[in-house]
Point group: C2
Chain length 325, copies 2
Amino acid sequence: MTEDSSETLIPKVSTARRLDGTKVASEIRESLRSRIDRFTQTVGRPPTLGILLVGHDPGSEIYVRNKIKSGEALGMATDLCRLDDTASIDDALSIVHTFNRSDRHDAILVQSPLPDRMGRDAEQQVFDAIDPTKDVDGFNPGNVGRLVQKRSSLAPCTPSGVIELLDRSEIEIGGARAVVIGRSDIVGKPMAMLLLHRNATVTICHSRTVHLSEVAASADILVAALGRAAFVTRDFIKPGATVVDVGMNRLNDQAQVEALFGRGSKKMAAFEKRGSVVTGDVHPEVEFVAGALTPVPGGVGPLTIAMLMSNTVGAAEARLARGEP
Amino acid sequence: MTEDSSETLIPKVSTARRLDGTKVASEIRESLRSRIDRFTQTVGRPPTLGILLVGHDPGSEIYVRNKIKSGEALGMATDLCRLDDTASIDDALSIVHTFNRSDRHDAILVQSPLPDRMGRDAEQQVFDAIDPTKDVDGFNPGNVGRLVQKRSSLAPCTPSGVIELLDRSEIEIGGARAVVIGRSDIVGKPMAMLLLHRNATVTICHSRTVHLSEVAASADILVAALGRAAFVTRDFIKPGATVVDVGMNRLNDQAQVEALFGRGSKKMAAFEKRGSVVTGDVHPEVEFVAGALTPVPGGVGPLTIAMLMSNTVGAAEARLARGEP
């Protein structure tokens, strides 16, 4: 009996160091405690985040709950303002203005997505309205501009979390070739800017990129942020590269999960228990080629929330330094 | 007698189509005339640009004079406010605030550089202070952010001029690999964003890039904006690539000019007449490899001023649409 040659071509021993986002996120959160305590003693209240949640998107419910839990665990305060699906853009703007004027709120987060019926540019209208000094997601155009100009204090949480993860994992960014797949305002573009500021040579790829796998394979650091399950296969990877997987895709199809992860895998067991699993943009086989890899879940996700906490504390301290709270 | 082999390796017939910035700039300016006339008839005054010039930098004197001449040739108005070298940052800010409040000024330009003695972040302070709706250089952080978010109406003049030149020369941007050498706020970064919005796959290189010539040679469209005379040599160029030379470097050394352009060249004749010549970041030998090339002078330079005129008219029309002038 001969071996299946396609099998023998793929070494089945993982080469990739696992970049543990959960651990790094915990380190970041712990480093905030003393700053939170100091702020609370000085001001007489903890750093406070105002959250606006509109509608009942199940993903958003989970994200918001995790943000609140994470804040409370650190001794920060969160105020959640919920609006029904039927709320208008003016209702949302009115909450934002209230948070803007409030002396109690150091930071403001409007959970994305807003309901479709608010209109196509509702999110941008709301982000435009947030006081830039309280804009902990960094989506306000003034903060986007200051990020480009390398003088931002409130950078978007996911890309700044990726930088923290690379730094704390001692992965050299300066001089590296970095490729970012995805050009969203929330991840792809700010990620490219942050890598550029750290002296990487940065390429931004997207749906219109020709020979995408070839371009990706030039990367020492590859960031996948396109939102397509297991799209980034081994041919995208330079052997030994660091691969950061920003994707969070829910799979409901048993055959797809089995094809990707194999019968008897942990993911299949999870699927059989819950009826779905979450997977990244990076194909599981990449762990046999990459030098380092972020898992999904447990990679970039926890860092996003840790950086939200960090931005909230930073915004609170900056207000205090300006004599505002 | 044998031929010099290094000579025979370089074909001496130019392969590069010359991208005539002077001609395209003239087309852009002509397309503004009817809009300027319409605005002038409606408002009772022409679109008006307020210029602040501080000190006596010889380059700035020339640039400002050219901007004024170009505006006047189109029937626009320019008000030039000059401050002496000894002016403070507050003096400069006070002029900006006056232009901001003025109903007569649709557009504001602060000529760079400001004198060193104003301090390191003087320019950014001044750009921050310019009313974003009048900010025709697009350097205000809000405008930088809107550019990144693909909703800017006032994009920086040099990179938007490059896009116009490529478009009007029928060079396909979508799907192309574009490499930008240089990461300045004024050219490199906005250039990368504009190319990205047009669906190029964009790489940003800089002084810390490893294997720069190799990365550059992956480009279908190469933009050189690093400010070093003749730095980009033939080994940076994929045969047939479009090369955009944003550099403007003054050479005062006869030996250097002769080495670059050869005895008996037009540049040498110009040097002998004037004692200096202006040259780009791209080496003259690139014309034997590139498919298309912008000359210096006569390439990107004229487009920068044409786009300034275009932005001024655009800002004036936008104010009119909002009922402001």
